[in-house]
């Protein structure tokens, strides 16, 4: 079974600065997907960024980018120019590839990192 580990329960960053959230995972699969989700106090789960394991290029979405190290099984999230609205719980998640339309693949989540943005 796959496991996802987030070793930083809490992080803080000054507004406009850059912060990196860590995530490691364990799997025997060669093809998979990785995600970062944001959960603000409203509890809504919001997809921030996704990465396909077969792609060597790191995914980016505006101020959010990842450092995907497949051999090290590491998937960190970098938030540049941090804003007050970035304050939230961030979850790293793993998903196996889909085999057929008759099956589904669950997301396996880490325990989360609570990010505080300081004004």
């Amino acid at each position: 079974a796959q496991t996802v580990t987030q070793s930083q329960p809490e992080m803080s960053v000054q507004e406009a600065e850059t912060v990196t959230l860590s995530c490691t995972y364990d799997t025997s699969e060669s093809d998979y997907y990785l995600f970062w989700y944001k959960q603000p106090p409203s509890r809504q789960m919001i997809l921030v960024i996704r990465q396909e394991a077969y792609k060597q290029q790191n995914a980016t979405e505006n101020r959010f980018s990842v450092n995907f190290q497949k051999a090290a099984k590491s998937f960190s999230l970098k938030i540049s120019d941090s804003q007050l609205g970035d304050a939230a719980m961030y979850f790293c998640a793993y998903r196996s590839p889909v085999i057929s339309s008759g099956s589904a693949r669950q997301l396996t989540f880490g325990s989360g990192t609570q990010l505080t943005v300081l004004p």
Binding site: R50, S103, L107, G112
Partner: protein, 112 residues
């Protein structure tokens, strides 16, 4: 599009009571999921469905039941509630099995 909606937002149950958590999506997604989130933890999959009439167990199905009579609705039933079921419950849906999962706002359930 309302997306994924869940009712109720909050509920307190006594031990042994039963209830149904409602989940509806208006995106015509075939794939739907129920997760629970315990304090300080990530989400764990309870049940999922790949289409109307088809459901399957996830990682933590004990104490729960689901049904999927329509594409839109995927209710989660708790029978004989126990304190261990105190959690926040999220419903999600996706258009394709590997596609982005859209989450509802969650239901906070307390069993005392």
């Amino acid at each position: 599009n309302a997306g994924v909606t869940q009712t109720p937002k909050f509920r307190i149950l006594k031990i042994g009571q039963s209830m149904t958590l409602q989940c509806t999506q208006d995106m015509n997604h075939n794939y739907m999921y129920w997760y629970r989130q315990d304090p300080g933890m990530g989400l764990k999959l309870i049940y999922y469905s790949v289409g109307a009439g088809i459901t399957d167990k996830g990682e933590v199905p004990n104490g729960y039941n689901v049904s999927r009579s329509t594409t839109e609705d995927f209710p989660l039933r708790l029978e004989l509630a126990a304190p261990s079921q105190t959690s926040v419950y999220f419903c999600a849906s996706s258009f394709v099995p590997g596609g982005e999962q859209y989450f509802g706002p969650g239901t906070r359930l307390t069993v005392t």
